[in-house]
């Protein structure tokens, strides 16, 4: 009897076991049963055409009907009766195209990636939590809920929209990444929208030179710092033109202490370079310089290029507002865009808003630290990490009034540019208010006054907000909470026991660098110094390499009767200002050597027009050579593996031009010889060519062309999903050209707006597509046009019932009773 039952049941048990096994992931292997089932698996993401999207959608939570049009580029145009429905629909529509991406960003920002990818993400997660990303997002939410009903209502409506989409989402329609990584979307919340903003704060203001420059000061002394790390570049074209009268003086309530360099208790191990490719351009010209007599405005933020793209285009309209532009998936409102009367754009300020204070703990319990003549209590926060396939982990963070102590000696560091035993003061951890209102008001701004009112509400990351209106005003403001700093404050690690080193409040909004309608009839920014050294407060000693700014300002100065095409050409400008400045001098050195000056390589350089164009070979040689020369000059004296910062490229070029016999050109590793500049120029030139020949074969082939060597690629956010990425994109550019396209970074959105009294014209595109679904034709459809430097005409509808030939689908979002 028993045997008969066993015989009858064991196949059933095996079948259940197999079903279970195919229903779940095993390590990196996804749940293959679920995934390959044609009913629920990845084949179901093959996306419906627009025709399938016609008709009515019943959605609970809306107050009134909303009309939604999709144009031929997959851009949604939302027409709502009120703000609640507008942001509800925005949340719904963005989630429809980008749900996985927006949730992925928030998991990264809040240090929760270990929950989906396992232990590999632990150090990054812990870093994100220790610097306060999640904690600050939580306190911002608390502040908004109690003090800022407008932001709170917008965030709530947006969340409801996202959640309305999630709750209607069947398993078979889950974005492919959920299916491959085997997890499900969580409920959205206002907190998650704030995490998205924290992500931008980290990307744009999360770098620091402090530790590495302190190492330099310890090794070589302050005289060398003064000589090689000047407070202002040798060539610069600041955002606010030199000679501007500031009309105020610096004010430090607690006084200014002497500058000093502290002894370091321990050295961090391996130092990482900052990310110089993150930057942006924006500019506007007044009607005096345009063909149509009213301003033109342009913006191209340079970020890490990714698929899905960081931006998403849309139009948001109610009876009292109508705006077009790009949004960040996961946050309400348009971030960069235009309306009937104005246009605006942003670039990163990049001033020093992250400082480190050496903390003197009372004892090893770290419960108290010495500050201002007394022991002050630390706060302890304990974070829990859930790790896929492993047990939870706990982590303790000690908080001082400056901020968190990010690393202790016993923690292996994720960011090795951060010192151990130091508390971090970071403007991004400001929690009084969100930046959302700035964008809410900019979306509705009608003139310069509205623009300034909106800007005052902005915190971080500080941005250069460019502005133009159809009243023929142009303006730019370096805006955000900028700490009042005495000269060189926070340039080195600081003494955490003395309150004179503390930040002493914020520069008042009115005193942030800004200008309205300058006499030169244009405004611009490219992450360079906001102002020259006459500006009363110290902002930072190092900003982006000045070449983009120099080129943009030269071109804007030269051009008149400008049109959208003039702007498009400038966006695609590949000119290499460094080459113009430096190459003639370098070639003179090479020319003394007959065996070089008669070569093909030399003649490429000699005939070069300084354009980093896709088809040219000279930029391949020059850019690699300059990089090599820079390393040849500095690597022996400022080795990265000792945590030393090397001088800037600008300083290096000015040293080459002005002081070819400088002692800094001597190679410290050769004891029997004193090198001069010419030796290094020759050595680096020969090395570069020998490497290039090994890598690329005989000179003159396609493999030598700049586009092939630069090899721009746009990768999916999950590095393992290589086939969802786009490689070998053929285009020109360089991180230091106006067209700042490098291998992995570049213009993440290009926009040109022609202001008009009647109706503006917008042009733009980004290197990706509206849909986050790799199965959709709108996943990467803008990349080829982007690589060619073309722009799409943006369809900015006047009203919901406008019959525009480019509209492809119309949907009525109807409140479900």
């Amino acid at each position: 009897m028993m045997i008969r039952i066993v015989r009858a049941i064991w196949p059933f048990c095996i079948a259940l076991g197999v079903l279970y096994g195919l229903n779940r992931s095993w390590g990196n292997v996804p749940p293959v049963g679920k995934l390959f089932s044609p009913y629920t698996g990845f084949l179901r993401n093959i996306s419906p055409d627009f025709q399938d999207q016609q008709g009515d959608w019943q959605i609970s939570g809306l107050h009134a009907p909303v009309s939604l049009h999709y144009d031929h580029n997959g851009v949604p145009h939302i027409f709502a009766e009120n703000d609640h429905d507008l942001y509800f629909a925005q949340g719904f529509v963005v989630a429809k195209d980008r749900l996985w991406q927006m949730e992925f960003y928030t998991l990264a920002a809040s240090g929760r990636l270990t929950e989906i990818v396992g232990e590999a993400a632990y150090f990054m997660d812990r870093y994100h939590r220790r610097i306060g990303m999640a904690a600050t997002a939580q306190s911002i939410i608390k502040y908004i809920e109690e003090n800022d009903p407008l932001s709170w209502n917008i965030l709530q409506a947006y969340s409801k929209g996202v959640n309305a989409y999630i709750s209607n989402l069947s398993e078979n329609q889950l974005p492919i990444e959920y299916k491959l990584l085997d997890y499900k979307p969580e409920e959205w919340s206002p907190y998650k929208s704030i995490l998205m903003l924290m992500n931008m704060r980290l990307t744009l203001s999360g770098g620091t030179h402090d530790l590495r420059l302190t190492h330099v000061a310890k090794k070589y002394g302050m005289e060398v710092v003064k000589e090689l790390f000047p407070l202002y570049p040798s060539e610069e074209s600041p955002i606010i033109p030199s000679g501007t009268n500031w009309g105020f003086e610096a004010d430090f309530p607690k006084g200014v202490p002497a500058l000093k360099v502290l002894g370091l208790s321990s050295d961090a191990d391996l130092m990482e370079p900052p990310v110089p490719q993150i930057g942006s351009n924006n500019w506007a010209v007044s009607g005096a310089k345009t063909a149509h007599g009213l301003p033109l405005l342009s913006n191209d933020p340079h970020l890490g290029l990714s698929l899905p793209s960081i931006w998403y285009q849309m139009q948001l309209s109610t009876p009292t507002s109508n705006v077009y532009g790009v949004v960040l998936p996961g946050t309400p409102a348009v971030i960069i865009g235009f309306n009937k009367d104005i246009a605006w754009g942003v670039t990163n300020v990049g001033s020093d808003v992250m400082d480190f204070y050496q903390i003197q703990f009372q004892d090893s319990t770290k419960q108290a630290y010495w500050h201002d003549g007394e022991w002050k209590a630390t706060n302890l926060r304990v974070d829990t990490y859930k790790i896929k396939g492993k047990e939870d982990r706990l982590d303790s963070v000690y908080l001082t009034h400056h901020g968190p102590v990010v690393y202790h000696k016993d923690l292996s560091a994720y960011k090795t540019t951060f010192p151990e035993g130091h508390a971090m003061r970071w403007a991004a951890n400001q929690d009084k208010g969100s930046d959302l209102l700035t964008f809410y008001y900019l979306n509705r701004a009608k003139n310069y006054e509205d623009y300034r009112t909106a800007l005052e509400l902005f915190t971080a990351p500080a941005q250069n907000f460019v502005f133009a209106s159809n009243q023929n005003d142009i303006a730019i403001t370096s805006n955000g909470r900028l700490p009042k700093k005495w000269k060189e404050q926070g340039r080195f690690l600081m003494d955490g026991t003395n309150s004179q080193y503390d930040w002493q409040g914020w520069i008042p909004f009115e005193q942030n660098p800004h200008i309205l309608n300058p006499v030169r009839n244009f405004v611009s920014s490219a992450n360079q110094f906001p102002a020259d050294t006459t500006y009363p407060y110290y902002l930072d000693w190092s900003f982006a390499h000045p070449t983009r700014a120099i080129r943009i300002n030269e071109r804007l100065q030269e051009m008149d009767q400008m049109t959208v095409d003039s702007f498009r050409n400038l966006l695609n400008d590949n000119f290499n200002v460094d080459a113009r400045r430096l190459l003639p001098t370098l070639l003179r050195v090479l020319a003394e050597n007959d065996s070089i000056s008669k070569t093909q390589e030399y003649s490429y350089l000699q005939r070069w027009n300084y354009q980093n164009d896709a088809e040219q070979i000279a930029p391949t040689i020059f850019n690699r050579w300059l990089h090599n020369l820079y390393k040849t000059i500095w690597d022996d004296k400022f080795p990265a593996n000792e945590g030393l910062l090397a001088p800037t490229l600008d300083k290096t070029i000015s040293l080459i031009l002005a002081d070819p016999n400088s002692k800094w050109f001597d190679n410290e590793h050769t004891t029997n010889k004193v090198e001069a500049l010419a030796d290094l120029v020759l050595e680096s030139y020969k090395n570069t060519l020998s490497i290039l020949k090994t890598e690329l074969g005989e000179i003159g082939q396609d493999s030598w062309k700049w586009a092939a060597v630069k090899n721009t690629q746009i990768n999916h956010l999950v590095p393992n999903f290589k086939s969802f990425s786009r490689k070998n994109i053929w285009n020109g550019g360089h991180a230091n050209s106006v067209n700042a396209t490098s291998a992995t970074h570049g213009p993440s959105w290009r926009m040109v707006v022609q202001l008009d009294l009647d109706w503006p014209k917008g042009f733009g595109l980004y290197p990706g597509g509206q849909s986050g679904n790799p199965a959709s034709p709108f996943y990467d459809n803008m990349i080829d046009k982007w690589a060619k430097g073309e722009l799409n005409e943006l369809i900015f509808l006047k009203a919901a019932n406008e019959k525009h030939p480019s509209l492809r689908a119309t949907i009525n979002m109807i409140p479900k009773p």
Binding site: A8, P11, F12, I14, L22, P38, I46, E171, L180, N720
Partner: protein
């Protein structure tokens, strides 16, 4: 033989409809029921379930692929073939249809057989 064909067509048709609702494994409920109620022999049960689901999944997959305008299924498959390079030497369509038929067929056969086995009680 008759019970094989009843089981085969019964599973094919009912699984086709049931598949649209619920999680991926609901299509195996008809397999189980036909195995339990119709099949006399273990081998007949297994192969009727195997071929019914293999053919159903294959046809369904062909239908979705026909709507794929961007070679998306090849990209997804590449994530697997990067890890298992031996698969990359065949045409992606054949690889995909083979994987789909084998997984679906194997589970379909197994569950149908499991249903049939319970008749022994």
């Amino acid at each position: 033989m008759k019970s094989f064909w009843i089981s085969f067509f019964g599973i094919l048709i009912s699984a086709f409809f049931v598949g649209w609702i619920g999680p991926w494994w609901v299509i195996f409920i008809p397999c189980f029921l036909f195995g339990l109620l119709v099949n006399r022999k273990a081998s007949g049960a297994f192969w009727s379930g195997f071929f019914a689901i293999a053919i159903l999944w294959k046809l369904m997959s062909l239908y979705w692929i026909s709507k794929d305008s961007v070679q998306y299924y090849e990209q997804v498959l590449k994530i697997f073939t990067d890890a298992l390079p031996i698969l990359a030497s065949w045409s992606p369509k054949i690889v995909l249809l083979s994987i789909v038929s084998l997984i679906g067929g194997f589970v379909g056969g197994l569950v149908t057989w499991a249903g049939q086995a319970l008749r022994k009680i």
